[in-house]
C-alpha cells in the first residue's frame, strides 16, 4: 500500500531551517491535512517528498521508496504544486499532451481528466486566459492523468469559488474512498475540518501535532485547536 512517510526530514537553506526533523505519515484510504501557517515548511516538505528539492538529511518516501525511485511516477503519484505550471501560449490539451508524452500515458486520457475536472469545454483554449480556479482544476487534471494511487496537493483550493471548494471536497472524498492516499496542504481550516480524516500540523518546520481530526481537535473546531497549538504553543 502507498503510505507517504516523512522520516526525520530536514531541509536547510543556508542559515534557515525550513523543515526540522519531520516525522509523519499519510495512509491509504484517508485524506490527511497538512497544516501550518505561512512559512511553516509545508511546501518545502512536499517538494522534498516529490524530489524537487534535495533534503539536507532524513528522507521522505512513497510506498517505501523515494520519489526518484518510482519507475512510472505519474502513474503512481499525482501532484498539484503550482497552478501557474502551464505554458500560457499552449492550449490545455497541448499542455497535457506534453506531460502524457513524457510519461507514456495514452492521449485518450486527456479528454477523460478534462471532463472530470469540468474543463472539457475549454480544452482547445490557450491557458493564459484561464482564471486561477480554472488553472487549479487543470492542475488537478494533470495530477489525475496517470490514475495514481497517491495524491499530493499543495493548497488545491486556492482560487476556487465556494462551489468549486465543495466540488473539490467531494472529489477528494471519492478518491480516498477508492483507497487512494491523499495528502493535502491548506490554509482554509474551516474547509479542511469538513474534508480531512487525519491532520499533521507543523510550525517553523517542526511537527506540532499529528493524529486523527478527532484526536487533534478534542471536540473543538479545527481553527480553535490550530490557534491553541500554533499561536498558543
Amino acid at each position: 500500500m502507498s503510505t507517504i512517510e516523512f522520516k526525520g526530514l530536514v531541509k536547510k537553506y543556508r542559515d534557515v531551517t525550513a523543515v526540522d526533523d519531520l516525522w509523519a505519515e499519510a495512509k491509504p484510504g484517508r485524506i490527511t491535512g497538512f497544516l501550518g501557517p505561512n512559512g511553516a515548511g509545508k511546501s518545502t516538505a512536499l517538494r522534498c517528498l516529490l524530489g524537487l528539492a534535495n533534503p539536507t538529511s532524513g528522507e521522505s518516501l512513497i510506498g517505501g521508496r523515494p520519489y526518484s525511485g518510482i519507475a512510472h511516477p505519474l502513474q503512481e503519484v499525482g501532484a498539484v504544486l503550482d497552478s501557474s505550471g502551464f505554458n500560457g501560449s499552449l492550449t490545455a490539451r497541448q499542455n497535457l499532451k506534453i506531460i502524457c508524452a513524457a510519461s507514456g500515458i495514452d492521449y485518450k486520457r486527456i479528454n477523460e481528466v478534462l471532463e472530470l475536472v469540468e474543463l472539457g469545454n475549454v480544452k482547445g483554449k490557450r491557458t493564459k486566459g484561464f482564471s486561477l480556479g480554472m488553472r487549479q482544476r487543470l492542475s488537478l487534471a494533470v495530477a489525475l492523468l496517470g490514475d495514481p494511487q497517491v495524491m499530493v496537493l499543495d493548497e488545491p483550493a486556492n482560487g476556487l469559488d465556494p462551489l468549486g471548494i465543495v466540488w473539490l471536497r467531494k472529489f477528494l472524498r471519492d478518491l480516498a474512498d477508492q483507497g487512494r492516499t491523499i495528502l493535502v496542504s491548506s490554509h482554509q481550516l474551516a474547509e479542511m475540518q469538513h474534508t480531512v480524516d487525519d491532520v499533521i500540523i507543523i510550525n517553523h518546520g517542526k511537527l506540532v501535532v499529528k493524529g486523527t481530526i478527532a484526536e487533534v481537535t478534542k471536540g473543538k473546531s479545527l481553527e480553535e485547536a490550530f490557534m491553541n497549538l500554533v499561536v498558543g504553543a
Binding site: 518510482i70 505550471g85 502551464f86 505554458n87 497541448q94 499532451k97 506534453i98 506531460i99 508524452a101
Partner: protein
C-alpha cells in the same frame, strides 16, 4: 523515446519556434543577397573581385548566420520551463533529472541541426541567385553544396545545445535571452573582428573557420580590416565547437542535478 517526443512537442507547439526560423532564413537571405553588392561596390576598401573563389566562398559563408537564432531556440526550450514553472511537471514526470535534461539536449541538437540546415539552404539559394545576377555560377558538385550544409548542421546542433545550457544556468528568461543576443550579435563578433587571434577560439570565429575562409582585406588605407588568415582549419574548428557543446552540456547537467526546482 517518450522524453524525446515530449521535448519535441514543446518545440513544435510554440509559435515562437517558427518565428525564429523565419528570422534565421531572413538573415541568411539578406546576408547572401547583399554581400555580392557590398564586395563589389564597397567604398570601405574591402572590395573583392566576385570572380575569385574566395569571394564566392565568402558570399556563401553568409548562409551560416542562422545560428544566432538557433541558440535562442535552445535558450527558450529550457528557460521557458522556469518562466512558466513547467519545470515542475517535467521533473515530476521524469524525476531522474539527468534523463530529462539529456532528452532536452538531444532534441535541441537534432532540431538545431535541421533548423540551421533549412535556414542555410535558403541562404545558399539566395546566394546563388544573387551571384547569377553577376553572371557567376558555382557548379552543383562544388564542395559548397556539401560542406556548408554540413557546417550548418554542426553549428545548429552545437549552438542549440549551448542555448539549452544557458537557459539552465540563467533561469531568468529575459536575462538569458538578452545576454545571449548581446554576446553573439555584438561582443563575439567584435572580438573576432578586432582581435582575430582571440576571436578565432570563440563561436563566431569557429563558425567562420568552418567555411575554410582565410582572407585578409582592407588594411592601412581602409578604415576596416577583415582578417581571418589566422583562423583555424575546418576540422579543428569543428572539434573546438564540439568541445564548447560538451562543456556547456556538462555545466547544465551539474547545475540541474544540484539545484532545487521551483
Amino acid at each position: 523515446m517518450k522524453l524525446l517526443k515530449s521535448e519535441f512537442l514543446k518545440l513544435v507547439y510554440q509559435r515562437r519556434t517558427y518565428g525564429l526560423l523565419l528570422a534565421a532564413m531572413a538573415i541568411d537571405v539578406l546576408a547572401t543577397a547583399a554581400t555580392p553588392y557590398v564586395l563589389s561596390k564597397s567604398k570601405l576598401g574591402i572590395e573583392m573581385s566576385l570572380s575569385t573563389p574566395t569571394a564566392v566562398d565568402a558570399i556563401y559563408a553568409k548562409s551560416l548566420g542562422g545560428y544566432l537564432f538557433v541558440v535562442i531556440v535552445g535558450v527558450f526550450l529550457m528557460s521557458s520551463e522556469f518562466a512558466h514553472h513547467t519545470a515542475i511537471a517535467t521533473f515530476l514526470a521524469t524525476p531522474k533529472r539527468i534523463r530529462a535534461l539529456g532528452a532536452k539536449l538531444i532534441v535541441a541538437a537534432m532540431f538545431g541541426a535541421v533548423f540551421n540546415l533549412v535556414a542555410s539552404a535558403v541562404g545558399l539559394a539566395s546566394g546563388a541567385i544573387a551571384l547569377s545576377a553577376y553572371n557567376i555560377k558555382v557548379a552543383p558538385d562544388s564542395y559548397i553544396w556539401v560542406d556548408y550544409p554540413a557546417s550548418a548542421m554542426l553549428t545548429g546542433a552545437v549552438l542549440a545545445v549551448i542555448g539549452v545550457a544557458i537557459g539552465t544556468l540563467i533561469r531568468n528568461q529575459n536575462l538569458a535571452v538578452s545576454l545571449t543576443m548581446v554576446w553573439l550579435f555584438l561582443v563575439d563578433r567584435l572580438i573576432a573582428f578586432i582581435f582575430p587571434d582571440w576571436g578565432k577560439w570563440l563561436p563566431t570565429g569557429l563558425i567562420t573557420s568552418l567555411s575554410d575562409l582565410h582572407i585578409k582585406v582592407g588594411g592601412a588605407n581602409s578604415p576596416i580590416t577583415i582578417d581571418t588568415s589566422s583562423f583555424l582549419d575546418p576540422w579543428p574548428a569543428a572539434g573546438m565547437l564540439l568541445v564548447y557543446g560538451i562543456v556547456f552540456s556538462m555545466a547544465a547537467v551539474l547545475t540541474t542535478l544540484r539545484r532545487d526546482i521551483d
